[in-house]
Amino acid sequence: MASFVSLQEAVARNVRDGDIVALEGFTHLIPYAAGHELIRQGRHGLTLIRMTPDIIYDQLIGMGAAEKLVFSWGGNPGVGSLHRMRDAIENGWPRPLAVEEHSHAAMANAYEAGAANLPFAAFRGYVGADLAKVNPRIKSVTCPFTGEVLAAVPAIRPDVAIIHAQKADRAGNILIEGIVGVQKQAVLAARRSIVTVEERVESLAGTHPNACILPHWTVGAIAVVPGGAHPSYAQGYYMRDNAYYLAWDAIAREREGFLAWMKENVLGKGPEAFRAHAREGAYG
């Protein structure tokens, strides 16, 4: 059942050390503000799931919040490597990071299976690909009708899903529009959820009949955090801050510089800092 709370409270109540946490967002609507709150509250030992870990995961990993990463593509889109993620995997800094690696198709299917309350997903994948050799969680099933052997992966069932959306209505129904990614599936697959939104509106009436809406009784904590997806974007609100992504490469390259930046820009701030980004990048 949805309840509107502060982001601090949402994280404090819903995320525990050692939890399996999926912060999802496919380029669009990435829950940066919530990720920063996880860092400020010092969560650690997390298993972080995400198809496309980008800067917010680099930040979480660099601050030592994660002990395992489940992913299918980890990079700074259009820019290059995630230096903190690489440092953790290659050198164990600030702590070793276990990796469970899949393809996009596998993870998308695994979220879908999680939302559908199935134990696994079957798909035509990994054929001739080496990931199946290094990831023991990639298995197979045989079609009982044709005999075809398909790839199988376990359903993703996070302890907590964290997403950012455009709107919540008064009752806590959530509207996601544009590139919707796997966020609906992530929330439906998870035990608990945190949703940050750009704004709370009276009603979603008048929205397209087939819009992507999560009913209030499927979500947990909702925090209104305007700009909370910055430097990613929120369609209809603000654009992607490409300069941030470009600048990140230099910031994250060295450990010292990274830590100093995090101290100044994350540890020393709060969710309200995101509001400025919402205004800056606004449409029109």
Binding site: H28, W73, P77, E101, V127, A129, D130, Y238, A243
Partner: protein
Amino acid sequence: MAESYTATEMMTVAAARALRNEDVCFVGIGAPSAACNLARLTHAPDITLIYESGTIGTKPDVLPLSIGDGELCATALTTVSVPEMFRYWLQGGRITIGFLGAAQLDKFANINTTVIGPYDKPKVRLPGGGGAPEIATSCQEIFIVMPQGKRSFVERVQFRTSLGHGDGRDDRARHGVATKGPSRVVTDLCIMQPDPETKELTVTSIHPGVSREKIAENTGWAVKFAAGLEETLTPGETELRVLRELQARTKRAHGRAHGEST
């Protein structure tokens, strides 16, 4: 011949030309995206471009920096969820061309974008496969576009992120894969295509002004040249103009990113 052009422009133009107006393209970010949109803005106005973020039939005015830029959704026919994209559209067998880039490619067009060094103790951790493992086998045909170099064009990839022609010859079929696989690799130096028999990537067209030696130097295996070797047509005036306008629009749009201005 038109004005002068860069090797990267030649690469993008040559890649774009391989696309047909009726193609349905699954587009990778970067060089593939540039080539696909150039095709759309020149000889293939009706081409369907699909990005794995869920955008179908998108017509971006500027090139996306990421696979899920707002521009892709705003100009798309429709945008579906990512599970639907991989289930109904990619696995659905509806894509004629999967257009990929790569960190490392071997002589049978297998791709590595996962690790350099042992998987468990990587020397360099690359971003990972993303959509590539299933793009490589689900699309009817694969085009690859990437700049050529000895470290990226290797005899054998250390990690096979996605299947090309495997160990060559009918290895792909032996994996039970019915699709054609990589049929064309476009670089800044040449165009390579798999030999019909061995499936080894073989140079079939050399870009103007590039020597066989230069290609050999930039290839990590003893590269062969096809019997009917051609010279790639230089970029036409329209191709260059449209590409440069696209790049200029892109630069303006991304430069206006709001961390810097507004």
